[in-house]
């Protein structure tokens, strides 16, 4: 794969969470030849993840960071991948993502999204691209990329909460992940 821009090959992107959002954001950035990805997740692949997350049936039981390393290297062996398996806490964020030029928030739970955003905004100087409002089906065109403040970009419809009992489905989650990847590439090329 030939990088279309040298800036991207030197770029470092942090991805917090490798579920439906993170596994797809990582895939899109690897295909776009973003040079360095920092991947963080604590979880293992489960069969119920396969409805939307970028893993395979024979990877059930693997750590998501391990499975992501395998899958991303199959797509693009020319990028560097840094993997952190384990639960990220707010105090780890400045250290784990110290070299990142942009960070993608790809967590599942709302309180994790909250602490990730307040930590990046108060303790780092780089932009955060967060996903919020992606549950359910249809309503593709309600998903937007919005600049909430100087360093906070939010992707989603901002209302479709998993707590409303809505399902998570590949199409709608991937729209958000694709918006996130697109926003990240745009920020890297600014």
């Amino acid at each position: 794969m030939k990088p279309f821009n040298e800036k991207l090959t030197r770029a470092v992107v942090g991805i917090a969470g490798l579920g439906g959002l993170g596994s797809m954001v990582a895939t899109a950035l690897a295909r776009t030849c973003v040079g360095h990805l920092i991947l963080c997740d604590f979880d293992q692949v489960e069969e119920t993840n396969l409805n939307r997350q970028n893993y395979f049936l024979d990877q059930v039981g693997m750590n998501k960071v391990e499975a992501s390393l395998v899958n991303l290297r199959r797509i693009n062996p020319h990028i560097t991948l840094e993997a952190h398996h384990g639960k990220l806490s707010p105090k780890d964020v400045p250290k784990v993502f110290k070299d990142a030029h942009v960070i993608a928030e790809c967590f599942d739970k709302v309180d994790q999204k909250q602490w990730m955003a307040e930590t990046v905004l108060s303790e780092l100087t780089v932009p955060l691209v967060t996903g919020s409002g992606l549950a359910g089906i249809g309503r593709s065109n309600l998903i937007k990329t919005q600049v909430m403040s100087k360093r906070l970009i939010m992707v989603g419809d901002q209302v479709s909460d998993i707590n409303l009992g809505l399902p998570l489905t590949a199409g709608r989650v991937w729209i958000v992940a694709a918006h996130q990847a697109n926003a990240i590439v745009e920020l890297l090329l600014e």
Partner: protein, 69 residues
């Protein structure tokens, strides 16, 4: 009249301002675990919500999150 600018819109508090950021969020019925707050362009961490006093004419930005990923 005491007022705050909340997400760009002015809001009056004829019965007095909520004393803290935490009290304002409670008044607005916002779960603290779902919001990132900025007072006069400074991020206030969730742990400091209840120790952040509010003054009239401050500008408050509240960004809400919902779960799923």
């Amino acid at each position: 009249m005491k007022s705050l600018k909340i997400n760009g819109e002015s809001r009056d508090f004829p019965e007095g301002l909520p004393e803290t950021l935490s009290a304002l969020l409670d008044l607005l019925n916002i779960n603290h675990a779902t919001v990132v707050a900025e007072v006069d362009e400074k991020i206030i961490k969730r742990i400091q919500f209840s120790s952040t006093p509010l003054k009239s004419d401050q500008s408050i930005e509240l960004v809400r999150f919902v779960g799923g990923g």
